[in-house]
């Protein structure tokens, strides 16, 4: 099987995967750090490749609107965004999921203003966690490429028919180059047949009104169907991940376990910081400590049963959030993990940490401090902010 190795960063991997998925319409608006995806897709279109049509729209709101329109007449469609661009799409995100348009959207995670920040932070995507989109969070460039391809297959599965975000951390992944194994186009084509609309679509030969005013009873029924689709996605994500594994040797699931089997302490995380944490796990393992990692790939649907099974029997579980979760005792990922583990007996001690906001480095030393604190058992059940030093911004508190 022809496999090429290509040096790609996260943005170019997302764009290449969309091209190889034969995305027919791409509507995109540039935003840092996503802009190279829009540039690459426009370049592909200019060369006569896929996408067949690149739409240079005037906003992210219109980008997603155009993608929905294209999808509803039967074209495979995509867009990409980041941060405030994702926030601007908010209204249309709900439309895309409500009309069951299987759009794939690479999201390059970046902090939401204010204050302005260009760097990695999951608050943009977390703010959309109830928008009805599937959300996969990836660790590295290879996984960006593989996940965007798999995302089309997952989204278009008749059991799912939901749009999907493939979330990569701004700069840490989007601008970091790695050697990526790229399968041959024939392999991709066999894996991903052309898109055919299977549900609601706009065709004068078979007129249909999509998204008209809906009475309360029907509304509830339609929402319930979306809920069922999320439940189905738990199965479909694993099936597609296994099929992709048979074709490429890289198998993906809902979560990734790293040296977790006999771990006493488990780190739980989303996204690229898993790389740093795997290094830490290796170091500690060398010292004889039983440390392991659970990386959650699918945040929507949230694989609660999988997580519960993976964390059963651990002495302590440390959950790291790259989003603030303002006003809540627990940041978003920790909230969900805590709920998934509720009632477990024996119950692990649960610790939450907010780290790496606005692209701040999560250093091994920071993780070591969190681990040391957890070993003392302090701060259970709430998300503690680590590495905060208020002296840096003129505040008084130093900790």
């Amino acid at each position: 099987m022809a496999v090429k190795r290509r040096l790609l960063d996260g943005n170019s991997a997302a764009a290449l995967a969309m091209q190889m998925a034969r995305v027919q319409v791409a509507a995109m608006y540039p935003i840092t750090p996503q802009s190279p995806i829009a540039e690459a897709m426009s370049e592909f279109a200019a060369q006569g490749s896929y996408p067949k049509k690149f739409m240079r729209v005037e906003s992210e709101h219109s980008a997603l609107s155009a993608a929905v329109g294209a999808c509803l007449v039967g074209a495979r469609a995509g867009t990409a965004t980041s941060s405030v661009g994702l926030a601007l799409m908010h209204e249309v995100l709900g439309v895309a999921s409500g009309v069951r348009a299987p759009i794939v959207m690479p999201v390059v995670n970046r902090a939401l203003a204010a204050p302005w920040s260009l760097w990695a932070d999951h608050q943009d995507a977390m703010a959309e966690r109830d928008s009805g989109w599937l959300q996969l969070y990836v660790e590295n460039v290879q996984e960006v490429f593989d996940s965007v391809l798999m995302a089309y297959k997952i989204a278009e599965d008749p059991r799912v028919l939901l749009p999907i975000m493939v979330c990569q951390d701004g700069f840490f992944v989007s601008h970091n180059s790695e050697a990526v194994a790229v399968p041959a186009q024939e392999v991709v084509d066999a894996f991903l047949p052309p898109y055919e609309p299977k549900n609601a679509y706009l065709d004068p030969a078979s007129p249909l009104v999509i998204d008209d005013l809906t009475p309360p009873t029907l509304f509830t029924e339609l929402r319930y169907q979306q809920k069922e689709a999320f439940a189905n996605a738990l199965t479909v994500i694993e099936e597609v991940g296994a099929e992709y594994g048979r074709l490429t040797g890289r198998t993906y699931g809902l979560v990734e376990e790293y040296r977790l089997a006999d771990a006493e302490t488990a780190l739980v995380v989303l996204g690229s910081v898993a790389g740093t944490m795997k290094g830490l796990v290796d170091e500690r393992r060398a010292l004889g400590e039983r440390l392991g990692l659970l990386r959650i790939r699918s945040f929507r649907p949230f694989p609660a049963a999988k997580i519960r099974a993976a964390l059963t029997g651990r002495k302590r579980v440390l959950v790291f959030d790259r989003s603030a979760g303002l006003g809540s005792d627990t940041a978003p990922l920790f909230t969900e993990v805590k709920a998934a583990l509720a009632g477990l007996s024996p119950a692990p001690q649960l610790f939450g940490y907010v780290a790496g906001l606005g692209g701040r480095d999560v250093m091994p030393a920071t993780l070591a401090r969190a681990l040391a604190a957890a070993e003392k058992g302090s701060g259970q059940g709430v998300s503690a902010w680590i590495d905060v030093n208020q002296a840096e911004v003129g505040g008084e508190k130093e900790c």
Partner: protein, 292 residues
């Protein structure tokens, strides 16, 4: 169960739930007639959403997507792009939106579709307020008119959408009126053709609203005609940059003959009326300057 005795002859059922005397409905019928069954229509929430229907029922026989208030043009552009890449030819893509969804919140997406040259027909039915939410003022509300958010009369002159559309140098832009249906029908046909062959086409139709403008539903056409005959609304066509009047009103009636037909100008003072007369006169002068 209600038995419908006569089937709809065209693409829209009769007996639909717009208010009595609604001229948006009239405009929609002419639009669907001109566009024909090979069409896909995007309609934002607003009065025209009554055409999309409710639950499992609709009143139109063409596919419709009900979008959001501000992105009718973007949805239509995406639909056109999808049809294009799939090689599906001969389908008209039409946006049908009110003044709020066009002149106010929808202007950005519309401007972008114009600028990209997307082959879509965009029709604005202008009832001069947010009628579906209860007569709130829009950028298209006539100066000094009462609405629920301009209780003392609307300030400001509003936007000249025809000039805005024409300034994008699109192949076809025109105004029309529900009171002049032959002119309307001809322009709709021209606009459909322009959108197919050349690029974006824009039609802005004055559609008096008995509910919001406070007049007897029997007077809809009379009010629409009065707007034109007083030059409060001018019938113009801009084809490839060339402006022309399609209905020339040689001997205009005083503006009061239009204003006094409607309850929304009830509180108008003689001074305000004189000012509005000056306004329509000067706007007409500016329009004539385009005709050279």
């Amino acid at each position: 169960m209600l038995k419908v005795e006569s089937p709809a002859k065209h693409l829209m059922a009769h007996g639909i739930s717009t208010c009595a005397g609604c001229s948006m409905e009239l405009a929609a019928r002419y639009l669907l007639k001109a566009a024909g069954p090979q069409s896909i229509v995007v309609i934002p929430p607003g009065c025209a959403a009554l055409l999309s229907g409710f639950g499992a029922e609709t009143v139109v026989k063409v596919p419709v997507f009900q979008g959001n208030l501000e992105n009718t043009a973007a949805y239509a552009a995406g639909i056109r792009a999808g049809l294009e890449v799939l090689g599906k030819e001969g389908i008209n893509v039409v946006g049908f939106a009110g003044d709020g969804a066009t002149v106010d919140i929808g202007l950005q997406a519309l401007s972008a579709a114009f600028e990209r040259g997307d082959h879509i027909l965009y029709v604005c039915y202008d009832n001069e307020a947010y009628m579906n939410t209860g007569i709130q003022g829009s950028a298209s509300t006539f100066p000094d008119a009462w609405t629920t958010t301009t209780p003392a009369g609307k300030e400001g002159l509003g936007k000249n959408m025809l000039e805005i559309a024409a300034a994008h140098r699109i192949p076809y832009a025109a105004t029309a009126s529900a009171g002049y249906v032959n002119d309307l029908a001809r322009k709709l046909t021209a606009a459909v053709q322009a959108a197919r062959e050349k690029g974006p086409a824009y039609l802005h139709i004055s559609t008096p609203c008995p509910t919001g403008w406070r007049f007897d539903p029997a007077l809809t056409i009379a009010v629409a005609k009065a707007a034109v005959q007083t030059r409060a609304w001018n019938l113009v066509e801009v084809v490839d940059g060339d402006w022309r009047l399609t209905v020339e009103v040689k001997d205009p009636k005083p503006i009061g003959e239009y204003l006094r037909l409607q309850g929304r100008f009830r509180a108008l003072t003689p001074e305000q009326e004189a000012k509005l007369q000056q306004l329509v006169d000067s706007e007409y002068e500016k329009l004539l300057a385009h005709l050279k």
